[in-house]
Amino acid sequence: MLERLMQETEQAEVFEIQSEATKIGFDANKLKSFEVEETQGIAARVVADGRLGFAASSDVTALDQLKENVLASAELGDEVPLHFPEPQRGPAVEVYSPELATLPPSRLIEMGKEMVDTILQADEEASVSIDLTRRVRETTVRNSAGAEVAVRKAPFSITLEVERVRGDDVITLFEYFSTATLDDGYRAFVARVAEKLRLARRLATLSSGQMPVLFSPTGAPVLGLPLIHGLNGKNVYRGISPMAGREEEELFDEKLTVVDDPTLDGRPGSSSHDDEGVPGRRNILVNQGRLTGYIYDLKTAALARTEPTGNGKRSLFSPPSPSFSNMIVGTGETPVGDIIAGVDKGLLVETPLGLGQGNVISGAFSNSLSLAFKIERGEIVGRVKDISVAGNIYQDLKQIEALSLESEWVYGGIRLPYILLPKLNVVTKN
């Protein structure tokens, strides 16, 4: 395909994806389904007469049509000063574990049963749904500059949904675990979910007002999501990121460091190269509160006249765009137990609702909380319902009271510590 495209264009790129997954599903505490998923597809980009074109197909036999579509797309495309990269060495990153890739379905079933038991021990009225997915995903990108990069990953993921209804008192938890290395990290994951359920048995009330708010790693994406949007080179190039044009400025508290790191072994988001064949590298984006960089793919970097950062990510049906590999907020020095012990009266945010729904790029957040706890005299005293928090990260992250020593991976590719903000607006029904 690449050769055929190169005959008619200045530059060409072919991206191929193949993936096989086995999924075990539990529903309402019981084993329910066994699923096999096979995915394949091919996408092409060309630069013809300086213009960029794109096309894709999940039917890998429809190559004539793919070629016709990508050439037609380039005829309509914009002129972009983009150059597909030459072969470049990337870092060695472990993302394929043969043991994980061949984990027997019977083992997935055992793990699921163990997780159901752990949750039911915490609350026998819980209804648990689990999906355990074992996958092998191979992508290859080849281009007219001679690069040929194949990436093989074996990500393993678990989605865990817990519902507990008692009268009209309802709790729902939706949690996600992922890894690319075989270990028993899932046990710690499910133990934390069980602990949240236990803590939620007691209810507490809290009055509206300004107070210290501690975001747990599952709650902290409220603050992390605006950072992810703001550091995206596309939003910077478009001038809509409040961080655009402010490199080297002290935008945040000096405790805050944000890194994108695709070089970590054992993480599904890691990779030697991005989906455009650009080598992955660790990029420090916010260094002790100071803005030091953004993330770019090839096209955005070309438009912004800067270097790509190895963050070109794509699914089969879309052209690449800048995306984090692993977004990491650096940890602090205080154990979370000590942070809680130091709060006289405040709120612990575990599960926000409506993440990403507000005006995220502006830094503003306003989220109601499906799971949050009252902290009183240094202890978690009970779950608070009908409550919301609001603020803006460009003000509220200027002063961080503490970051915990501990951190967790959430939503697959985000690693966050507990983050304590000294004063945030909390609205409750009282």
Binding site: E35, V36, S58, P105, R238, P242, S368, D386
Partner: protein
Amino acid sequence: MREQIESAIRNSEADYIEIRLEEGQNTRVAYRGPDLETADVVIDRGGLVRCFVHGGGWGIATFNDLSDLEHRSRQAYEGARAVQAEPIELAPIPASEYKTTVSLENDFRGVPVTEKKSLAQEYNEILLRFDPRIVDTHTTYSDTFSRVTFANSDGTYVEEERPMVNIAFSAVSRKDDNVQRAFEAVSKVAGFDAVKGHHDLVQVVAQRAVDLLSAPPVEGGRYTVVCNPRMAGVFVHEAFGHLSEADFVYDNPQAQEMMVLGRRFGRDILTIADDGSISGLRGTHKYDDEGTPTGRTDLIKDGILVGRLHSRETAAKMGEQPTGNARATSYRYPPIVRMTNTFIEGGNTSFEEMISDIDQGVYACDAFGGQTALENFSFSAAYGYMIRDGEVGELVRDVVLSGNLFVTLEHIDAVGDDFQWAEWGRCGKGQGGLPVTMGAPHIRIQDVLIGGQ
């Protein structure tokens, strides 16, 4: 293809088997700011086999390679045998044989991509030229045409063509650190003409993005809230609709108790229903993705819970009738209980009456989105106004409604006489974006929590 499908079904040893194949083509033209992001055509083909065996569970195989359905059927069968699950039963439905071919006025498949690009560019230019404070835009044209074939071992064979044409515009405005946005979209089961002539709507988007720059954030607190029809539609979908999906209750006795039919949820003025058979709406199909005919299901009638949405499996488990709500986002997913076109039926209060006795309230308009964790919900309005002394006052931003479902439904004390369907709707349950339509008139809710800085 029909022969291969029927032969794979015939030769399967499963106690029940279904095959769903999908072939589609999607054209997309996207502008971001002054630049064209892409103008492309993608091809998508794939399928799903789902089966169960007594003494086993559900076995599912999904794939892009459609060449060997017997092999996929065996994969699903082996999966079904590998799990020891509770016995599965499906409520009976009549076997159907049905084939639709749509004919669209000015079918978008016959329109050259250049013309689609010109239209998107024209709209995008309006946004870009409107005001220097508009710093970024997204204008996206897309159309999709797919052919879905469904057959099962109960004798049903359905072929359906599913066309959809969409145009979406958003504008981002900025003044110093203040960044605002506005959004509108039109999505129709129709030909190319349905997305033409929306220049006025584009102006509205641009004007709103600029106006929001000088709008203050709403002050947090508890308010009487009037929701416009689009906000009310999202509210009913998110806050109530998901609870009426039987997969939430069918295996959970406590949840069944909470959602017991006959329970009062609201005042007499409140009627909520789902109807997948209304011609031309985004959630409409003749049959759902299990081959069950769609139709109207009343969920709340005169304030009382009277029904819920079912797949064949949840209906059998609860001894109720399937409602035609088993839907799948694509061939990549087995069907689950989903809404189709969900609405609050129109009442008899005019908008003027509704606001006339509000001293201080919030008029919440449109929705950036909504999310619910069963009893708790959160909705972001796209924009809002204060209501002061019975009149609509100044524009406010960052209006996020949250609350408890049960309390909030009881607090709906006025239902407007101005019912309308939204032009656009998407449900994200489990499998991601599935087309739905939400409809409602204006509604008034007492004592709603609004977050704010």
